[in-house]
């Protein structure tokens, strides 16, 4: 588990990254948890795996699954909107805690 920095600019957007340690990578169960949590925030949230070119919508389970993020890849997260900072922090905490069954 490794949490990296979160940074913010002008209070409307935030970004951060975290190492994915889940045994099978970003698959169905983690993807469902991640998108469910992302949907709790108003902010637009995007993620990408390692250094893939495209950012995808963190609220879309189909897209998150399609990332095919493998174990130990770095998940980058960015958000914009009122609760952007809280969203990024929450998602990083979720991934860092390896998707626990109780909410982070």
């Amino acid at each position: 588990m490794q949490m990296l920095d979160t940074s913010k600019a002008n209070g409307q957007s935030a970004a951060g990254s975290v190492r994915l340690e889940h045994a099978v990578g970003m698959h169905a169960r983690p993807a469902v948890k991640l998108t469910k949590l992302a949907k709790k925030f108003q902010a637009q949230i995007s993620i990408r795996a390692s250094d893939a070119a495209d950012w995808i919508n963190a609220k879309s389970v189909a897209k998150v699954m399609a990332l095919r993020a493998a174990r130990n890849s770095i998940i980058q997260i960015k958000a914009s909107g009122e609760d952007a900072e809280a969203a990024v922090a929450a998602l990083i905490a979720l991934v860092a805690a390896d998707f626990p069954d109780q909410g982070p």
Binding site: V24, G25, H27, A28, R29, A31, V32, T35, K36, N57, K59, S60, V61, A62, K63, M65, A66, R68
Partner: protein, 540 residues
Amino acid sequence: MNMPTALQGLAYRGRTASIGFAHGPFVRFDADADGGRAAGLPAEEAAALRRAVQLASRQIADLAASVGGEAAQILEFQVALLEDEDFLEPIFAAIGGGDPADAAWSSALDRQIGDYTAATDEYLQARASDLADLRDRVRRILLGAESEPLRLTKGAVICADDLPPSRFLEIDWSGGGGLALLRGSPTSHVAMLARARGIPMVVQLGAISDAGQMALLDGEGAILELDPSAEQVGLFEKRREIHRKKRASARAILRQPAASWRGERIKLLINIQRVDDLEHADAQYADGIGLMRTEFLLGGRELPDEETQYRAYETVLRWAGQRPVTIRTFDAGGDKPVPGFTPTDEANPFLGVRGLRLCLQRPDIFMVQLRALARAAVRGNLKVMFPMVTAPDELEQARALVAEAARGLRAEGVAAAMPELGIMVEVPAAALRIADFKASFFSIGSNDLAQYVLACDRSNGALATLVDPLHPAVLELIARTAEYGRRAGIAVSLCGDMAGDVRCVPALLERGLRELSVNPAALAQIKQAIDRLSSEGSGD
């Protein structure tokens, strides 16, 4: 009848499948028996998919709650996918571009499944089957194979492309209503059910582009009017009133003495699908029950036990008193599949293991029915009839089983008797070789007889003009059967739709039939038709 001259934009004409009138809310129900689906406007298709997605979501969530554990987490993925706007958006876009809902849905899922299947990762490959499950669930809902129980406003006019008999039976018709089918056929099984229940039904209405709020359905004129003007409603109510008066005067005829034609007594019996049909106000005037179908007993989760069956048969015999009651053994197969009973792998079920053929192959199921019937035989005037008989040996095999059932019961100290045994005449071979059968009575099943003689699937609307029960070949077989019965002193009746069709009755009487069995709702009209023929014949 004068049709209203101002049939406004929203009037559609089809073909009559069942007479009667319905005035009520218009409900589109787009599902179809054979897996096809008529696509509506893009907006309707989008709404259909949205409903299907919501329903599937609820079903899966319920399922997840009941299974728990890892299985529940997999199911949660399916629910999450159904709530994924990014995933659904291109599907709705395809629908907006003119794709039908089921096609747009299936092709999006197929693409996704293809991606997963192609993955090198086993875990992802395994998700492909979850997605296939999800694809099929939503598809089934869209095709109407499974959906929420129909909660319909009383008296609704239901509009569908076509309707499988199972769906018709799920609908609560106690508050009236009507059925308007875009395709369909007046000779289908559903049409038969609608006539038996007295539900107006019009088929082959073609395309209906407007989704209305209120509908008028005139089963006699075969007209569907949507969002009618006050004038249209007025004219409709006038036609309904004329129909009501006609029926009332026909009903008065029921209280008069038995029907006769050219000095000969004509027996009018009734067909019932279930015990409740005896509650029809006109049933009491029948000369007996010409056909009690027993397939309703097969509708439950499990096959009915002897006691359940006995109670049903005994109730009907008690109702009938001294009058004869003809009970037909299970006629499953063909267009009446029964899970766990009928074969599932037949290429042509109408020519397959159905009727008595099936019962003889399944003595485990058949003997239960025969025991119940042998017990009921001591309670009234019971006749037992076997359907779909081709060869005399089939009747003899069945007779041996009935005798065995009666013997077994008596050995157990249970009262039982051999009922009279007869056959349905619906296979052309049986009609042609009628003298070979040692039956106590014959009943002509004109629907199947016509279907087999004319080689026309009667549920196929495209053949509706060919399936003519008055075809000379059909009438000739009826005449030969009636003639044989007269010479041999064996009763011959006819229990198909022809008997309840006023246009066919003269031909049937001319061909020598003296017993007709009809739905309770048609009894008055047929008696009136015979009376009219009688008075015309005697020159009154």
